[in-house]
């Protein structure tokens, strides 16, 4: 941002004066042209311009983003129900700390981070196969992308039917002699089921990014590897992955964001946070406390915690991306 030189702090005050002066002059002189102004005033206006130009953006950010954020944090230190509006200190945060449901939801965020490599590896591998022109790669390219255009609610409803205890998936399992699996009713499995469905529904986007990355890949390296007789595994490990570092990092970051911010719809439709509260995520917890339990202040506290978590994750991601940028 071209703000100019030395003393930015005094400038807004002066700019106010300059404004008032100009207005006065205009009032006196009537329709006299601006070119008649002294040069010093013109220079001042020049220095003022950046502030004025960024003002709308700053105001929108401050008024519609930061100020509500401050209000939300402020609200999280007040009580619920009969204590509505009265300050209660950190008791909402202490309650969160003691609530096993909230701890589960944070734990599930950790689980998502752990599952991230799998969520990135799947589109990566599939994109590799498409790039290496396995038979039918054109068909796969569109088929893989297709679920990405479905809304989570539709995806959730489809998989609810598929994965129901008496649903078709268990029927197939039963036909081959494997016992039925309670996909959405077993607390040890349900979270993995939902994450699996989420990956299924969204990996198309990452696949496209990978394919774009592949288009920048130096084909002569692959040819060289082939001539040297490298196996598929070695080609992937030694040629493809090193050349795609930036793409992989980018997909990591976007997949992470997707997992942390857009699982609500699926959870809402598929498990409702259950069974036994095992599929809660902070977002779902916040919605539950605010809408179902009538605890808006507690929900604000949970939102604040989630905000801090996302801030940390976001900063880490930015530093990862920066480092990737420097490498090139």
């Amino acid at each position: 941002m071209p703000i100019g030189s030395s003393s930015p702090r005094v400038r807004p005050a002066r700019s106010g004066q300059a404004d008032a002066a100009t207005m006065k002059q205009r009032g006196h002189r009537g329709g006299v042209h601006a070119t008649a102004r002294p040069t010093s005033r013109g220079a001042r206006a020049e220095r003022l311009a950046p502030y004025v130009l960024v003002a709308p953006a700053v105001l929108i950010i401050v008024g519609l983003r930061l100020w509500p954020l401050v209000l939300g944090v402020d609200f999280s230190f007040t009580g619920d129900g009969e204590l509505n509006g009265t300050p209660v200190g950190a008791s909402n945060y202490l309650e969160l700390l003691g609530d096993p449901l909230f701890r589960t939801s944070l734990g599930n965020v950790g689980l998502l981070v752990l599952l991230l490599p799998i969520a990135v590896a799947i589109p990566g591998l599939l994109a590799t196969f498409i790039y290496l022109r396995v038979p039918g790669h054109r068909v796969y390219r569109s088929v893989y992308f297709f679920p990405a255009v479905l809304s989570p609610v539709i995806v959730g409803a489809i998989f609810n039917l598929m994965l129901g205890f008496d649903g078709p998936v268990n029927a197939v399992l039963g036909a081959i002699g494997a016992g039925p699996v309670d996909w959405l009713g077993d607390p040890g499995i349900a979270m993995f089921t939902v994450v699996g469905v989420h990956v299924w529904a969204t990996f198309g986007m990452a696949l496209v990014v990978f394919l774009a990355g592949f288009s920048t890949l130096d084909a002569s390296l692959l040819d060289a590897a082939r001539v040297d007789g490298a196996s598929l595994g070695r080609t992937i490990w030694h040629v493809i992955i090193p050349s795609l570092t930036r793409t992989i990092q980018f997909v990591f970051v976007t997949t992470m964001i997707g997992m942390l911010t857009s699982m609500f719809g699926l959870l809402f439709v598929m498990t409702g946070g259950g069974p036994e509260g095992s599929t809660y995520l902070p977002e779902y917890y916040i919605w539950h406390q605010q809408g179902q339990m009538n605890r808006p202040a507690l929900a604000s506290a949970a939102s604040t915690v989630l905000f801090v978590v996302m801030l940390v994750v976001g900063l880490l991601q930015i530093s990862v991306l920066r480092r990737a940028g420097r490498q090139d």
Binding site: V52, A55, T271, G274, E276, Q292
Partner: protein, 425 residues
């Protein structure tokens, strides 16, 4: 450009001034001035349904007769988001004048935002039933529209197929389990259709069977708020819940089957013999009758589990209209609530939407044996056990019930946690 700078400064100042003050205002804004034409806004999740059209029409007509100069606007909200939206309205002290509530925890948690209606509805007290669910600390906050309860429905066809007499359903728990085994052998149908994905199954179970487990004294104490969680009978409710599942009385996958509305399909398709259902809205006599012959749907009292228990129909006010405290003229809004609960309107609601209306004077003789079995029980019926619990405790109970079914919690641990939660809320 200069002017724009000025505007920016003005805008910033305006924002700063408007933003001042605490996050949640607790005072109620009083509407000044006399409006030319008054308008009342009603929030609910019913009025948009075709089945409720006749009801809304009748209620509007009744109100228009008494207050021709007032317009009434119905805003149908999606039920999924209803309490979230209402929460926002309450937080800002602005919103509908009249709103629909579920009885029990949902309204009790929000009475701070409501006007006590006792002075306005004295005439209706004896005509309507189900008031308790809308009261707190001796005050009434909403007028019941429907009654909601948990009768045990059973499939008479399956009883017949197993060689049992459907006119004589089992009276005790042991007989009940015995009959279930016979039916299972003959037809393969499970004893209970149980959907506990949302954690609602335990609520239905507790209330549907509770009157056969607790003694009348314990039952009344429970409703009155003196809940003895250390009583062996209270513990028996949860033991029975676990036992029923361990003995294979429930359909498989109860924890992943949704109560709304997957489990009702299980009952309707003859895959289970009994279901603890509802009286109004969904999962009731009218719903089931679309799939099963109406004369083959029976309703039985809770089987007696402990000696000395007297089974009764568990029911409460189901949904009811309340008046917001920020409304300009509470009397006018209360009048609208009275129109919404007039006999004419409620008759339309009962007939079209499939609900046991709160009005005890409605004639239900045409509706089939299930309704004929339910309605006479209303006089001796008692409030449902789970409705007396706070929504926080119910939420916990839902999760614990899933743990009991999967075996990851013991009955003792569950009862202890529930007792703690009940004490603090």
């Amino acid at each position: 450009m200069k002017q724009r700078a000025l505007w920016s400064v003005l805008l910033a100042a305006g924002l700063a001034v408007a933003g001042c003050g605490s996050a949640a205002r607790t005072e109620s804004p009083s509407g000044g001035g006399s409006p030319q034409k008054q308008k009342l806004v009603v929030w609910d999740w019913k009025s948009g349904e075709p089945a409720a059209a006749a009801y809304v029409e009748k209620a509007k007509a009744d109100f228009a007769q008494r207050h021709p100069d007032v317009t009434v606007e119905f805003v149908a909200q999606p039920f999924d988001q209803y309490y979230t939206l209402l929460g926002t309205a309450i937080q800002s002290n602005k919103g509908p004048d009249v709103m629909l509530f579920n009885g029990g925890g949902q309204i009790r948690d929000r009475v701070n935002a409501l006007v006590p209606l006792d002075p306005y509805v004295t005439e209706d007290k004896s005509r309507l039933a189900g008031w308790d669910a809308f009261g707190k600390d001796g005050k009434t906050y909403a007028v019941p529209v429907t009654l909601q309860g948990h009768p045990i429905y059973y499939n008479k066809t399956l009883y017949e197929k197993a060689g049992l007499d459907p006119a004589k359903p089992p009276k005790t728990w042991d007989e009940f389990v015995g009959d279930c085994a016979t039916i299972k052998k003959a037809t393969g149908a499970a004893c209970f259709a149980l959907g506990n994905k949302e954690g609602f199954g335990i609520q239905f179970f507790m209330s549907g069977l509770g009157s056969g487990i607790l003694t009348p004294q314990e039952y009344d104490d429970w409703i009155a708020g003196k809940r003895d969680w250390t009583s062996p009978h209270v513990k028996r409710i949860f033991e029975l819940w676990k036992e029923a599942n361990d003995k294979g009385l429930n359909n498989e996958g109860a924890n992943s089957t949704a109560m709304f509305n997957d489990i009702f399909r299980v009952f309707e398709t003859n895959k289970a013999t009994h279901i603890i259902g509802l009286m109004s809205d969904v999962g009731h006599w009218k719903d089931f009758a679309e799939f099963l012959p109406p004369d083959k749907i029976g309703v039985m009292p809770a089987p007696v589990v402990t000696g000395g228990a007297t089974p009764s129909l568990p029911y409460d006010g189901g949904i009811g209209y309340a008046v917001a405290k920020w409304t300009r003229d509470p009397k006018l809004a209360a009048d609208l609530v009275r129109s919404l609960t007039s006999t004419d309107a409620l008759t339309a609601f009962y007939a079209k939407a499939g609900a046991i209306a709160s009005d005890t004077t409605i004639d239900v003789s045409q509706a089939g044996p299930a309704v004929a079995a339910i309605v006479p029980e209303i006089k001796t019926g008692k409030p449902a056990l789970h409705v007396a619990l706070s929504s926080k405790t119910l939420d916990l109970m839902g999760r614990l019930s899933q743990q009991l079914l999967s075996g990851s919690a013991t009955v003792d641990k569950a009862v202890r946690q529930l007792a703690d939660s009940d004490r603090t809320s």
